[in-house]
Structure formats: C-alpha cells, structure tokens
C-alpha cells in the first residue's frame, strides 16, 4: 500500500516539475534572438517561431509537449537539431560516474577520518580534519581546480590538465569535486561518533574487552550511519544535478553543463529533457536512501 502511495506521490511531483519547468523556461525570453543572426528580419523571426511552434498559445504548446512525450518524443534541440532526450542521456551517465566515484571516495574517507577524529577529539587528526573540511567548504571550486591544474599538470607535468580517459584523468576532478562533500561528511561522522562513543553500549563493549578498533568501526560506526546516509543522500542529489564548474573546467561533458547551456541558449526541449532525467534519478535515489535506512535501522523497517 505504501508503495502505491509513494509511486503516486512520485508521479505527482514529476508532473508538477514538468509544468513548472515548461512555463518557467519560457519566461527566459524569445529563443529566436539567440538562434537567428543579429540582422534577422521580424519576418524571419516569425517564421522561426512558427516552425518551432512558439507562435501557439503556451497552453497549446504544453499539451503538444505532453502528447509527444507520451509517444517517446521529448522534442528537438534548437541548437543541435537532434532529439533532446539523446543529448540528456549522453550526458547523464558521465555525471553519474563522476558523482558516484567522488561520493564513494568522500564517504569512505569521511568514515575513516571522522571516526579517528572522534576517537581523540582535539587531537592531531581531529584538528587536521577540521582544517581540511573548513578549507574544502570555503575554497571556491573554480580556484581550486585551476590551481591544481597549474601545479600538477603545468608545473609538475604528472597529471593531464583535463579530458576523460584512464585513472589519471579522474584524479583532479574527483579531488576538486570531493573536497566539499568530504568536509561536510567528516563533520557529520565526527559528531555522530562522539555521541556514539559515549553511549552505554560502547561502554559495555569496552567493558567486555572488545578491541578499540572493533568498538569504533563495528559498534559505534554502524550506529552513526543514519545521519551520514541522510547527508550523503542530499549531497548525491546535488551532484546528480551536475557539478557544473568541475565538469566545465575538466572537459567532462556532464549534464550540469548541458543544462546551464540550454538555459542560456533558451533551448527549451533540452532544458526539459535534462531536468526530467535528473529528476527521475533523484527520485530513485530517494527511494534507495529510504531502503538503506531500513537496512541500518530495524525501527525504520518496522514503521
């Protein structure tokens, strides 16, 4: 029953999103100014509007859009003159890969470093981690990316400046993209672990002679995972929208860049297709996060 309710709500949110995106994107203005030459005549603009259906009332345009969508036609990109959904589906896996790897590394790093920081609060690890997370949260991606390119590619010549390829091509984008999620997650892990380490069950475990490693990584960490999953879910959602700056600088043709360019170019079909694809992905992600809660906490499962 819950599944039905949930599916229904998901569909409703998708529909509301579609309506919002459709009408809001058209508020950005007349695309003919961006697609026709500066000296285009008013007649040429009118012909362009007619050819693309922009001369119809907005509601008619929306109905046509929904009708076409139900037959699998998500519209044609004005700029690339090919199906908008193809453009979105080419870009999304790239974003997904980059986001997935970054998040996995950030979570793993945060779990280890956050736990160590919580183990001895105000110790060396804790202070170093605190500083890193502060720096990660405050340094602008753009600056960090260009600086790392200048150091590791131009000065030292050990990593490629940009582009997609083998492991070497992943290092800089993942570092730049992962700094902020790592900084955020490490603080969450640290906070949750400090609370967990002072709880009665940890004291019991210690009293029973469990090793400190076991106490930290088995008993306390598992119980600290819920807030981590929540925050990681939020981060994953924002990464799925595309890490525009990192993707742009490093030449990873992900969905963020496609979406921003489509907005700037008033390429409505592409705006709609990219947002639809990411929205569906985020809805799936939310379901996964809910399922993970259930795995980690039996009380959630029961509810």
């Amino acid at each position: 029953m819950a599944i039905f309710r949930r599916s229904f709500l998901t569909l409703v949110s998708l529909l509301v999103l579609l309506i919002l995106v459709f009408f809001l994107s058209r508020l950005t203005g007349d695309p003919s100014y961006l697609f026709l030459p500066v000296n285009a005549t008013p007649e040429a603009r009118a012909a362009f509007a007619q050819a693309n259906g922009f001369d119809q009332p907005l509601v008619t345009q929306f109905i046509t859009y929904v009708q076409n969508m139900l037959t699998g036609d998500f519209g044609t990109s004005l700029r690339q003159q090919r199906p908008a959904i193809d453009i979105a589906l080419e870009a999304f896996p790239i974003t997904l890969k980059l986001a997935g790897v970054t998040l996995a590394i950030a979570i793993a790093g945060a779990l280890v470093m956050g736990s160590l920081a919580a183990w001895k609060p105000r110790g060396l690890v804790d202070r170093t981690v605190g500083l890193t997370s502060l720096a990660g949260a405050s340094a602008p991606d753009f600056w960090v990316a260009i600086t790392l390119v200048l150091i590791f590619s131009v000065s030292l010549g050990i990593l490629p400046t940009s582009g997609m390829g083998g492991i070497a091509y992943w290092i800089l984008p993942v570092i730049v993209l992962g700094l902020r999620p790592f900084g955020l997650l490490v603080q969450v892990v640290r906070g949750a672990m400090i609370a967990a380490l002072s709880s009665p069950y940890v004291k019991t475990a210690r009293a029973k002679g469990a090793s400190e490693t076991r106490v930290i990584f088995v008993h306390a960490l598992r119980n600290s995972m819920l807030p981590v999953i929540t925050v990681a879910g939020d981060i994953a959602a924002s990464l799925m929208n595309g890490a525009v700056i990192v993707e742009t600088i490093f030449g990873w043709p992900g969905i963020g860049g496609v979406m921003i360019n489509a907005i700037l170019q008033r390429d409505f079909a592409v705006i709609q297709a990219t947002i639809l694809v990411t929205a569906i992905a985020i809805l799936i992600l939310n379901i996964v996060v809910d399922l993970l809660y259930g795995v980690l906490d039996p009380r959630v499962r029961a509810a």
């Binding site: 007349d30 500066v38 000296n39 003159q81």
Partner: protein, 506 residues
C-alpha cells in the same frame, strides 16, 4: 608546508609514473590536437558562418567556390577557377575539374546547384544566407558540367565575395536535421564525433590540391581559457584557440592577431540628450581610450569605423576623437545652455563577457564620463536579453541608451556592415540620416573606386559629422600554438582553421 606539498606531489608523480597512469603526452608526428572554446552544435555546412561550426568545417571538410585571401582581403579561386560578370544580376563561374567529394561523387555543376539549395533550408537554422546575403536570392543554373551561372534577385557587384561563405557540400548529404557527418571536397574527411569529447578528421589521399602535411586532426573543447592554454603548454594540444590575454603569457607560443572584431557603443541618436551632436562628441572626447587599452589587450588599435583595415570602404584618413575632457565639458555646457537635457541619466546596455574585460571597460568609461559631469548608468544583460536591444523593434525606444557592441566583418567589403548598422532601415541601426543612407545605397550599387569612395564618405560622415557611435577599438585575439607545429593565426582564424596550412616545425 609548501615543501611538504611538493614532496607529496613528487611522490604521487613517482607512483603514477611507476604505474604508467600518466597520459601519453607525446603525439604521433603528423597528428595534431586543436582545443576550441566550445563544442560545435552540428557540422552543418549551410550554417558554417556559425564560427564554432566553421572552425571545423571550412576549408578542412568543405570548400567554397571562391575564398578571401586573409592577407590581402582579395577574392581568390577555390573550387571555381575563374569568373566573369555577364550582366548586373548574372555571373558565370568555371568549375575546377578533377575534383571529387570524399564519398567519391564528382564535383560538378549539379553539385553546386545542390549546395546552393542546401542554403535555402528552412527546416533547420541555416544562418549563412541571412547573415551575409541580406534579402538577395541566388539561382544557380548549369551551363555545362564544369560551368554554372549564378543569377541574383538584385544587382550584386560583389557576388564573388558574397559566395565565399557558401560551402560546397556533397549532393549525397541528406537533409534530415543538421548534419553531424558532412561530406565535402576539402583536404580532410570527417572521421568521428564522440559527443562532448572530440571530433576527428583524417587526411584524404585523393584531394585535388597539394597533400597537406598533417595526417589527422582532433578537435577537443574546453570552455576555460586557462585550461586551453595549459593543454598546449603541457603538450596535450597543439593549438589553443582564443585564449584570454591574461593566459597569453608565453611569447614563444602566444600570438596576438587582429581578429576582425571592432568594438563600439551604439548611441540612440534619436533620443534627447543623445540627439544632440555636441553631446555625442563630448561622450567620445571624455574618454582616454589609449589609457584603457590594457583592459582588453595592449595590442588593440583605436577604431574610427566599424570595419577593419583591408575592408573595401575603410577610410585610413579618419582620426579618432582626441582625449579632451575640457573640450567635452565645454560642448556639454553649450548644449545645456541651449536647453538640451544633458544631465538626464544615460543607460548603457552591456553584455557580460561580450569580450574579455567588457564589464571593467564600461566601469572605466563610466568614471571618465562622470568626470565631465555626465550621468551614465550601466545595465548588464545576458546574451539573449542583450540581443533584444540590438534589433528592431527596439525595446525602450524613448530611452537614452548606449548599446555595448562588437561587430566582425571578415568579408572584406563594408556593405556587410553599413546597411544593417547605419542605414535608416537597417535592422540594428539607431541612425536616421539621409546623407548616410544615400551613400550606402550608392556604394552598394557601384564597383571599383566609386564603391570604395561612397563607403568611405559614409564612414567619414558617421564619425566626423554625426559622431553616431562611441568608437572604441579594432580588437585582437590571442591563440597559443605549440612548438610541434609551424603555423600562425590570421584574421580569419576565429572562424576558420585551415589545417592544410599547418606544417611540422623543424
């Protein structure tokens, strides 16, 4: 701390080296990589005036009948070997023989007809015709397989110049959407396109002209100028097109070259106080544009007209307005005394990133105008909204506006600029002057010295008598060329990169 970082970085380097993770920087001898600022939206020949398409397609994959020599600005043969005017509306072109498209189709009169037909497509955005031919319709007929006659719907004394933009695409190319696999007669053929990543071209063995040195070319794109420059410095690419002046830091690799662009602020000459010529002259005289050059590039030169040198109609005798704040103040006082509302707020319609330093330039100009008592306000727009102010019908037609603008004329003739920008009926014009209108029309219908002089007189009136613009600079571009190849960018480089002209450095 720094020492630690360096040590750490070196350690990572050693590890990567040991694992052979570092990319293969050294490239095959005759393979090159060109890094562009953006991915082309398509490779559609009928839209090759779109510079991001033209850079890949023009003179690499497809070729025109005639081309402009970037050095002299003259029309020279390409796929047409000679031509002559039959009457005011008609020209005949003899076609080069023994030329084939890369798919094996012969290049002949029928192919020319098909290529011109492609220009008339309305199912996709095909800007070449609209952008360069105004309202002129061209009809091509076959005289024999190696000669065509082109008739224009109105007299076109510079038809051979106009058709330099028409790419000869193969008749076999379909008309389904914008092409992503063009077929032409050029020295290279389209090989592959990995969307978002790269486009590759390969040298043809059956090219009609001299075989180029470069065998394979990859086009990649990075929107950050610093990354493009770093790619060449690092050996990942051989040419980084259009880098910012701040990234052009290596005199051995970085070339500054006139890029055919001219900057100005267009004045709404019909709205008070800008309808008073004294105010317009004062706006020009209040600016120390020589001092502001470093904002856009030290190599830029002052402009007095909206076309670059080597353009038919360029008047080398025009002198820029001198920096004379006292004179500007005197003109404004005189106008004020006669009731001209000089103190009205004037708005600049600016566009973020129209050129490097665009916003900073406006701020500096605003400060200089404030010095002479002018009240100028800056309004910055994104491209789409800025473009609305470029074209008729103008929004806010009664507001005293200055429009930030950059215009390129790479076609070697002032007619591609004058009508649209300054004629009373020009779609971008904010000038209404009978004398200018007559000179433009006179020039457009004339040839030779008469044409040149009419256009020169028009520019002189626009600058000296009417001060219709705030005239700024003939701009420069910066492109980085790596040590492996021997090639220098030209005025045409921003819109076409002929790989066949590149040699390997000795």
């Amino acid at each position: 701390m720094m020492q630690l970082n360096l040590r750490g970085a070196t350690a990572i380097g050693l590890v990567l080296g040991a694992l052979s993770l570092a990319p293969a920087f050294a490239q095959d001898a005759a393979k090159i990589t060109i890094v562009l600022p953006e991915e082309p939206p398509s490779l559609e020949p009928c839209d090759a005036k779109h510079s991001s398409i033209g850079r890949v397609v023009i003179r690499n994959i497809t070729e025109p009948l005639t081309m402009l020599d970037p050095q002299s600005g003259e029309v020279v043969p390409m796929l047409a070997t000679e031509w002559q005017q039959v009457d005011a509306d008609t020209w005949r072109f003899k076609l080069r023989q023994g030329v084939t498209f890369s798919d094996g189709t012969p290049f002949d009169a029928k192919a020319v007809i098909a290529a011109f037909k492609r220009l008339d497509r309305t199912d996709v955005v095909c800007n070449t015709k609209q952008q360069t031919m105004g309202g002129v319709d061209l009809t091509v007929t076959e005289i024999d397989p190696h000669e065509v006659e082109i008739t224009s719907s109105k007299p076109s004394p510079i038809l051979p110049t106009m058709i330099t933009v028409v790419q000869m695409s193969a008749p076999s190319m379909d008309m389904n959407g914008a092409s992503r696999q063009p077929v032409g007669t050029g020295p290279y053929k389209f090989q592959s396109w990995q969307p978002g990543q790269q486009i590759t071209l390969a040298r043809r063995d059956d090219y009609w002209g001299d075989a180029p040195v470069i065998t394979d070319a990859s086009f990649v794109w990075r929107s950050e100028s610093a990354v493009r420059a770093a790619m060449v410095a690092q050996g990942e690419a051989d040419v980084a097109l259009i880098i910012a002046e701040t990234d052009a830091t290596d005199p051995k690799m970085d070339y500054a070259y006139p890029n055919g662009e001219t900057t100005r602020l267009r004045i709404a000459t019909n709205v008070p106080p800008l309808n008073d010529v004294r105010v317009r002259k004062a706006l020009n005289m209040a600016l120390d544009l020589d001092a502001l050059k470093p904002i856009v590039g030290d190599e830029v030169t002052r402009a007095e007209q909206l076309v670059p040198q080597n353009t038919d109609g360029f008047d080398a005798g025009l002198k820029p307005y001198p920096y004379d704040p006292a004179g500007a103040r005197a003109l404004l006082d005189e106008a004020r005394a006669e009731g001209v509302p000089v103190d009205t707020q004037i708005d600049i319609i600016g566009r973020d990133g129209i050129y490097v330093g665009a916003a900073e330039m406006l701020q500096a100009m605003q400060a200089m105008w404030a010095e002479v008592g002018l009240n100028v306000n800056i309004r910055m727009f994104d491209t789409g909204n800025w473009l609305r102010y470029q074209n008729r019908p103008f929004p806010e037609p009664d507001a005293p506006l200055l429009g930030q603008d950059q215009h390129d004329n790479l076609l070697g003739d002032a007619s591609f600029t004058l009508f649209n920008k300054y004629h009373s009926n020009g779609v971008n014009s904010m000038l209404w002057d009978d004398q200018v209108d007559q000179l433009i029309i006179k020039g457009e219908n004339a040839t030779g010295a008469e044409r040149t002089q009419a256009f020169q007189q028009a520019f002189r009136r626009i600058h000296d008598d009417l001060a219709a613009d705030i005239f700024m600079y003939h701009m420069v571009g910066y492109t980085r060329v790596g040590p492996r190849i021997d090639w220098k960018p030209t005025i045409a480089t921003n819109s076409e990169i002929a790989i066949s002209e590149m040699k390997l450095a000795k």
